[in-house]
Subunit: 191 residues, 2 copies
């Protein structure tokens, strides 16, 4: 994959504030190398921005609690879609599988209109853009935000969901690892 | 794998406060089903607790920013190790690969002494317990915490790290998905 196809959420240099009183701090290149080897599930987050719909690919989506149903994700200050998502009160988190790889690439490619193909998405009655045909999506209300060195960690409450492809025998889960895409299935199962 | 081997961080019922003013809320079972299909990298988080070392397996570890080097993870109120980790000012985040599967299982199994085998771990000079032979570990200072429905999202600043197994040609990354463990490699690569 090319550099432009890297998910924007992958850590990059930001001119952000270092926590104070910290004696040692791991160099940014060491930190990147550590997490390049740490795999992540792939999601696309959308919101209705003031200037139109926005989308970005994130590997940081994680469930925090099932009751209440809460998830978190983080937003880099460098992603073009971050300001609109940070100012939105509701977002749609699309949980992707390997059949959604095109969308993962689209929403992580800089300089393209991620909503140019109008056959690919629609709006929920509540206004948020949602892409068609993904494994699953969750409409969420943002309930908390935490600053983290220029990036922002968002906690969101799940309100509504749709699952197209669930727990089929043959898993087709999508994983991003070491700048490449992987598909899980029987071939990758170890236990 | 058996039920007792499920990582404790997987969402479970908690008697926590629902965000107020929320009209609809996704049922807990629907939410669990959505995230069961969302894969995650596997980490073990340790801390020096007041009553001895503690450890838990987490699939929520995610990098947020490389400069400053910040990561986040979430802690379920139901995990036995959560109170000690929440009260610690520093933690060690072990990033596991498939060679570390035994440790992932050990630190997610209820009712066992996760430090019984004294040949398996040691203490850093700063006091935190660290397991031997893992792919990589990062000593971190906790810099922020955010409540999320009874669970807690923690932001931590990376201070020091060690990488035993880095970016080898043959990846052996470990992924937890749909209650099973998977290994990434050339066999799972799709692009």
């Amino acid at each position: 994959m090319t550099t432009t196809q890297r998910p924007e959420i992958v850590p990059t240099d930001t001119e952000s504030i270092r926590p104070r009183g910290m004696s040692g701090s791991l160099p940014a290149d060491d930190f990147r190398r550590l997490f390049r080897g740490h795999p992540g599930g792939v999601a696309v987050i959308t919101a209705a921005g003031p200037a139109g719909p926005v989308a970005l690919t994130a590997t940081s989506v994680s469930s925090v609690s099932a009751d209440p149903p809460l998830l978190t994700f983080s937003l880099s200050a460098l992603s073009s879609a971050s300001p609109a998502i940070l100012s939105a009160s509701t977002v749609v988190v699309h949980l992707l599988d390997a059949d959604d790889l095109d969308l993962a690439r689209l929403a992580s490619t800089s300089g393209v209109d991620r909503f140019a193909d109008t056959a690919r998405w629609t709006r929920l009655v509540t206004g948020e853009p949602v892409y068609h045909g993904v494994r699953a999506w969750i409409r969420c209300a943002v309930v908390n935000r935490m600053d983290a060195g220029g990036s922002t960690v968002v906690a969101a409450h799940a309100l509504q969901s749709s699952i197209d492809r669930g727990e089929a025998e043959e898993s087709r889960a999508l994983v991003y690892h070491n700048r490449a895409w992987h598909r899980l299935g029987k071939h990758s199962l170890i236990a």
